[in-house]
Symmetry: none
Subunit: 140 residues, 4 copies
């Protein structure tokens, strides 16, 4: 039998709080998704003005980061044309996202969930995702 | 040009608060989804212990209730074998849910969003969805 | 509660009129799709001779332009190999189109819908989509 | 942070051993799927002669039993025409199986995974799934 650590709903809300605060600061209304370590949704928030397409993209970024235990921007770098991982973005029904903005949430070296942001540029999404993680890690 | 009223993220959180309170009262950890009037997700919460399958089912119930402007239990009654609507539950990629627990959110006679609950029996899901709406309507 | 502006069916027909006129002028029978600001279809027309595949592609272009509030040719530029947005074209079930020919319809600085053209070259599709928007804006 | 118990690959193999032994006894080559408590596949075996369609059906049964924490034959009973849960079998992309043969694996009152069998009659599938669980529980 394995023992797994997983974000709770309270943890998920802290991650969202941190990401939302940074999104507000930079003036970009975001879609924010938090998944558990299996990639299953725990919490989601679309700030007023967040994009419709981003409701799905944010979830897919969080899913990928958690379930593949890899930041989506790292997948992006690894899956460029010419690489043997090129094409991986169509896998898992197209849900494997290689667009920057998805980060695994890591506690004591273990992936316990994922956070995905979408509605800004990939760089802005990554920035707010990191802010969510920083806020969460500071709280524990 | 049309003018549409739509739930804000703050409205969505009030709906979730009301549904969560009732779910806590009856002791069933629920998945709770809120969509806008087009069926696009605004907010989602999986209470600790909510079912994995319910993360999708709750969203589909809210989507259906808002986008078809009909409670999912009303669809259930209308789509039983022998009815001309029988079979509608496989439409829209299977997202058209006819399982009780999805309710349209109606303000001044207009559908402004949807709420979907899943993890209990359909009756429990319906009960908590209604509690979300009652709490929201009492707040405006 | 939010208040949203959205194209009506009459608006959608004016957009199609403008796009069809230009398509006729350049001699390319087009598929023309109009969505609301959430990406949901309002009106669609396949001119005699429009391509079968384009019935879907035109809808996806209009969906993307409206729901992501961005022209599909701008996504094309942003999602080239080497970019952090590379790979986004498989998202939302592959519906997020980065092929030129989808434009958001913007009134008073707000996205109120989307128009998507398909059957010609991307340049021709973009040209006719813009003609639809020009015709619509001149009418209001 | 939550702490979750989950089947290991060694546990999964014991479950398969038990199910395979019973399938051999009744002379029905089976597809046997084991998932973790989130419904993600851990192990799969198609006995020589197992049905092609059953490679998917067995996975969906194990997924449902684990992720919804309910035996698929219990869902079958709950989702008959006339019930408010009627129609649930098309949810989660049609993966929510209500065909007998999927059982949750429960240890100390907690669902730690799921087992799904397919290729026989539902009754035979249920029989072999139970044999897998009996063999596993006897081993711990």
């Amino acid at each position: 039998m394995l023992t797994i650590k997983r974000l709770s709903i309270d943890d998920a809300k802290i991650l969202i709080d941190g990401a939302r605060a940074r999104a507000t600061e930079i003036g970009i209304p975001m879609c924010i998704a938090i998944t558990d370590e299996s990639g299953t949704l725990i919490a989601f928030e679309r700030m007023d003005g967040g994009k419709v397409t981003s409701t799905v993209v944010a979830q897919d970024k969080a899913f990928t980061a958690a379930a593949a235990r890899k930041a989506t921007h790292e997948y992006n770098a690894a899956a460029q044309p010419g690489s043997l991982a090129f094409g991986i973005h169509t896998e898992v029904g197209g849900r494997l996202s290689i667009v920057g903005g998805g980060l695994p949430v890591i506690v004591d070296g273990e992936v316990v969930g994922g956070i995905g942001l979408s509605s800004g540029t990939p760089q802005q999404d990554m920035d707010c995702a990191q802010a969510g993680i920083d806020h969460f890690l500071a709280s524990i």
